[in-house]
Symmetry: C2
Subunit: 255 residues, 2 copies
């Protein structure tokens, strides 16, 4: 299968390299700056392009790995240069398929659910691939490709993918914010950073072996109001953290 | 050194077993119910007792592993039966040392910073031991004992320990709540549980290798208001989660 990758950023780079290693023929790499497309194109034996009009009509699959805001307009522009039989798939967690289906009959979604950084190797076998497509045949085709690079392939519709994106905010963005909060506090108390690492490890182990609320401990679930009030007094100089503390405490008390 | 352990719960059990294995002589195990003290006492070759008046005056170290609320009154009661030269240490993260020092000259703190469950083995070598004491000699004595069971021993004063306890709430209680939030969302969308596991693993890796705020991604830090508003609409049926979402989003925007 001949694949063109539109975008040479985090997702485009990782997908190009991974699909190339899996034996797929990467025809072209597009970036608005030819300079950005060239090093990646060299690595995967593709032609670098910087104009959508240069996209090859031989592409069987065209993977859109551009910013979410650009997906709709790039899809519309490509429809002037590619035959309608080409399979066009975006790689975004946050973007509904309707942004493709308005301009394109053979649309698909090929979304790697992971935080990827350019230049940092990622083991795609461990990355869940979320697939969707206009028809069962397209879904099957994309599932087969995904199965060549990952052990975890899921058929995920628009509504599910929107939920997944929101859940990812809690598990990644918000968990990272909890790490920052404890980091700030221990740093202010001049305590060494590694002091909380064993607790974090145990937390993740306990919370992933069972339903997390079954592993919940602490003053919120015990409704230990004295400790909660003492903690809030300690946070007097951190109004944002105080608000976070109250909000999560109330949430835990619904468990 | 002869040690008496007051309390046969999670912390008392783990400390008795671990100190016994490290070669310390455990004289007595106290529990209000003799039935609770007996099995643990047998394992470590100690005498089970259920009355504070039975505490041995030969104890050189008396470790208080009772509930936070009980520490003050047990310390006061023990002062009627133990010589003032006995070293009395509590094992609590949340309790200031003043609750001991009011009744006791030779007070100390011997706090294992970890979430412990009775019956589940814990590798104490990886558990940070937080030490405090009335005098440098007591601090040194407790640091030496802690060093026999753990690779991580820290001298931590009352104020630092209070901060540590609060930071532990963020890293354990609140992180676990984030896991529960994403679990609830993916379950409602009928997605398999393991789909977010790789993202959680990458989150912890990235957030512990550097200052977590440097690893922050997502709509909050990007100030992507459209996505934030879409997420809040998705949370319409989860008012507590909606409040959590807003609070953490505001906090991230202070990074």
């Amino acid at each position: 299968m001949k694949i063109t990758i539109i975008g040479a950023g985090n997702v485009g780079s990782h997908l190009a390299l991974t699909l190339h290693r899996a034996g797929y023929s990467i025809l072209q790499i597009y970036s608005r700056q030819l300079l950005n497309a060239r090093p990646l194109a060299e690595k995967v034996g593709a032609t670098p392009i910087h104009q959508l009009s240069a996209v090859s009509t031989e592409s069987e699959l065209c993977l859109l790995a551009v910013k979410d805001d650009a997906i709709e307009v790039v899809a519309q522009n490509l429809s002037a240069f590619l035959p309608k039989t080409t399979l066009l798939a975006h790689t975004s967690g946050a973007t509904p398929s309707t942004l493709l289906s308005d301009a394109w009959a053979n649309w698909g979604v090929f979304y790697p659910l992971q935080t990827l950084s350019k230049g940092q190797p990622a083991d795609f076998t461990q990355i869940p691939m979320c697939i969707d497509g206009a028809t069962p045949a397209i879904q099957q085709a994309l599932q087969e490709i995904a199965g060549q690079i990952s052990h975890q392939v899921h058929l995920v519709n628009d509504e599910q993918r929107a939920t997944l994106h929101l859940a990812a905010v809690f598990i990644n963005n918000f968990t990272n914010a909890m790490l920052q909060a404890s980091h700030t506090l221990t740093e202010e108390a001049q305590l060494p950073r590694e002091i909380l690492s064993p607790l974090l490890q145990a937390t993740i182990q306990k919370g992933t072996r069972q339903e997390p609320r079954m592993a919940q401990t602490g003053p919120a679930i015990r409704r230990d109001q004295q400790t909660i009030e003492r903690h809030l007094r300690q946070l007097a100089n951190h109004p944002e953290l105080s608000t976070v503390y109250k909000a999560i405490t109330s949430y835990i008390q619904t468990f």
